[in-house]
């Protein structure tokens, strides 16, 4: 029962967090208004239920893009919470996720996307998406990475796959494939962009340092 309710509510949750995050980015750049940040979630939620030709707007998004992964939704929500509260802290004054954790998550997602999409779209003869329907090997791999992440104090990063697997157990997404709980094209493209940007930035920094100290 809970699982059915969650699976029906999940698309609304996905596009609420996506639209609210996008508008939050715009607000952050244009206006530094605390009031706007607080009412923004309510506005975003309302936008989803604007009727267009007899259907709520979110149903068009859902029709075209489907569900976002659990990873995406948690990252978007953490971004929203951070921006609404301006500076949310947990113990040790750590931001959630920390810069190190963000790097770990986005590098992992970028690698996952890099192996998943070319294989599943037919560019290579193997299909790694298949592993997600019978995810015994994928689960063991994720379990190992999760434990490793926790051991090196990447706690937020470690919790993401745990929540994704719990959601997989509850069948919250319409997909029966574990990959869809872990990654989606939105976060993969974002991760690829972020990784490229980080690498270029690092290269530039190194070149500048080389020039400074010949």
């Amino acid at each position: 029962m809970i699982s059915i309710f969650l699976s029906r509510a999940y698309p609304i949750f996905c596009y609420f967090s996506l639209i609210a995050s996008f508008t939050m980015i715009i607000i952050n750049r244009k206006w530094n208004s605390v009031g706007l940040r607080i009412v923004l979630p309510a506005i975003s939620f309302t936008i989803l239920f604007i009727p267009v030709r007899g259907l709520y707007l979110y149903k068009y998004f859902y029709g075209v893009f489907g569900n976002l992964s659990i990873t995406s939704v948690i990252l978007l929500l953490s971004f929203l919470v951070k921006n609404i509260s301006n500076n949310i802290n947990i113990s040790n004054n750590r931001q959630v996720p920390s810069g190190r954790e963000k790097s770990a998550i986005l590098y992992s997602v970028a690698v996952a996307g890099l192996i998943l999409y070319p294989t599943s779209l037919g560019f290579l003869p193997v299909d790694l998406y298949r592993l997600g329907y019978h995810p015994r090997f994928l689960l063991i791999l994720i379990l190992c990475l999760t434990i490793l992440a926790w051991m090196v104090s990447l706690r937020f990063a470690a919790m993401l796959p745990v929540i994704a697997v719990i959601a997989f157990n509850l069948n919250i997404l319409e997909s029966e494939n574990l990959w869809d709980y872990l990654v989606d094209p939105f976060i993969v493209f974002y991760a690829w962009g972020w990784v490229i940007y980080s690498l270029v930035k690092t290269d530039k920094k190194e070149i500048m340092q080389d020039n400074e100290y010949p």
């Binding site: 779209l121 298949r130 719990i166």
Partner: protein, 397 residues
């Protein structure tokens, strides 16, 4: 004082967090790992043997042709499928509307009465609106319905839908009926691709495995074309997915089990240089497939459909042309697809009044319990042709 208390509190907090983490890890991973490791499935095709009925069906050559739906009911019709119901009648489905891919295109159905030999009760089975309502999303168009009856007599309808763009943006949906097609379950969407679930389409006839699970031949069209086999559990959830071919030009697989382990997939060829019916073989129940090869039969980039008769020969309904879909022909192989002979032409080339070529395409056939073979296909995009014949007629070719 403060310096003394900090080290004693911190380890306790970390241990608490770690204990919580371990609890969540066990909660998350244990049930699904247990399920995964306790679950096995075998790859054995379900082969229906025998069941030949007595009477004229087996001894006197019998051949009849006609049409399914009322002429002009919709301006275009395409992609029919048929299934034998529990009472021996047939249920046929196809899609029709003002033109392909527009909002008013719906999946239509009709029932063939075995006693009277007539099709009646043409009506809409499902369309974009009710599919969208069931799926909680916007759906722009529907198409390519295929039918299956499982071992429990449940009728399965698989069809594609798309929210935007061309057919390559389609996904596969499923509905079931437990009362011979009178009432249908809500549509459910099969998620088969990690990239926005884009571009999985269905056209080939579904078939059964020995454990009651379903083999559903599908194909992928986005960027690269290839065939796939979905294996569905008895509740319709996806159990596995296998790629049939990866050469980038083959699509619309039609899988025909030869025995419990061996099978052949016939594929439409989308390459102008090849222009032949493509095939791939399996000897492990569809778990793996051989490289795609060419059959000595032409293919004008059009759907083909195979079937195995009870005497073990293979039949293939196809367009016997390199360029046009202007004939519907029958080829037969008695050596499991190694050699082929064209034995009959169901509908021949010709021109309609407006000077355009006729089109006979998208064949689909079934072997019924009374040993009749029923073939349906698109007739000039205006009507659905229905041809049925028995083994004696076939043997006389």
């Amino acid at each position: 004082m403060q310096l003394n208390t900090i080290p004693s509190i911190t380890p306790v907090r970390i241990r608490g967090a770690t204990a919580g983490f371990i609890f969540l890890v066990i909660l998350a991973f244990l049930p699904v790992l247990y399920k995964e490791f306790s679950y096995t499935h075998t790859w054995q095709f379900y082969i229906q043997e025998g069941q030949k009925s007595s009477g004229i069906n087996n001894h006197v050559p019998f051949y009849r042709n006609g049409f399914i739906q009322i002429e002009g009911q919709t301006p275009i019709v395409h992609s029919p499928s048929v299934v034998e119901l529990n009472d021996g009648n047939l249920l046929a489905v196809w899609y029709g509307g003002t033109r392909e891919g527009v909002k008013d295109v719906a999946i239509y159905r009709s029932i063939w009465n075995r006693q009277t030999g007539e099709w009646t009760g043409d009506s809409i089975l499902t369309g974009p609106s009710d599919t969208g309502e069931d799926l909680g999303r916007y759906i722009r168009k529907v198409g390519n319905p295929v039918l299956l009856k499982d071992v429990d007599g449940k009728i399965w309808l698989f069809y594609v839908s798309a929210s935007v763009g061309a057919w390559s943006g389609s996904t596969v949906n499923v509905r079931t009926s437990i009362d011979n097609g009178l009432h249908w379950s809500e549509a459910r969407r099969l998620v088969t691709s990690p990239f926005l679930n884009l571009s999985t389409l269905v056209r080939g006839a579904p078939f059964l495995y020995n454990d009651g699970s379903i083999g559903l031949p599908v194909y992928h069209e986005f960027l690269i074309k290839f065939g796939e086999l979905l294996r569905l559990r008895t509740d319709g959830t996806i159990m596995d997915k296998v790629r049939i071919s990866g050469d980038g030009t083959s699509l619309q697989p039609s899988v025909v089990p030869l025995d419990s382990k061996r099978g052949i997939a016939f594929l439409r060829c989308n390459s102008s240089s090849t222009s032949r019916v493509l095939s791939s073989f399996t000897d492990d129940g569809g778990r793996s497939w051989s490289e795609v090869g060419k059959l000595p039969l032409p293919n004008p980039d059009s759907s083909v459909m195979g079937i195995r008769t009870r005497d073990g020969s293979l039949l293939l309904a196809f367009n016997n042309s390199y360029k046009n879909r202007d004939n519907m022909s029958l080829a037969r192989s008695v050596d499991d697809g190694q050699t082929w002979e064209v034995v009959h032409v169901f509908d021949d080339r010709g021109y309609v009044n407006d000077g355009n070529r006729k089109e006979f395409s998208y064949p689909f056939w079934i072997h019924t319990r009374d040993d009749m073979i029923h073939l349906v296909y698109t007739w000039n995009r205006k009507r659905i042709r229905h041809i049925y014949f028995n083994s004696s007629w076939l043997e006389g070719l």
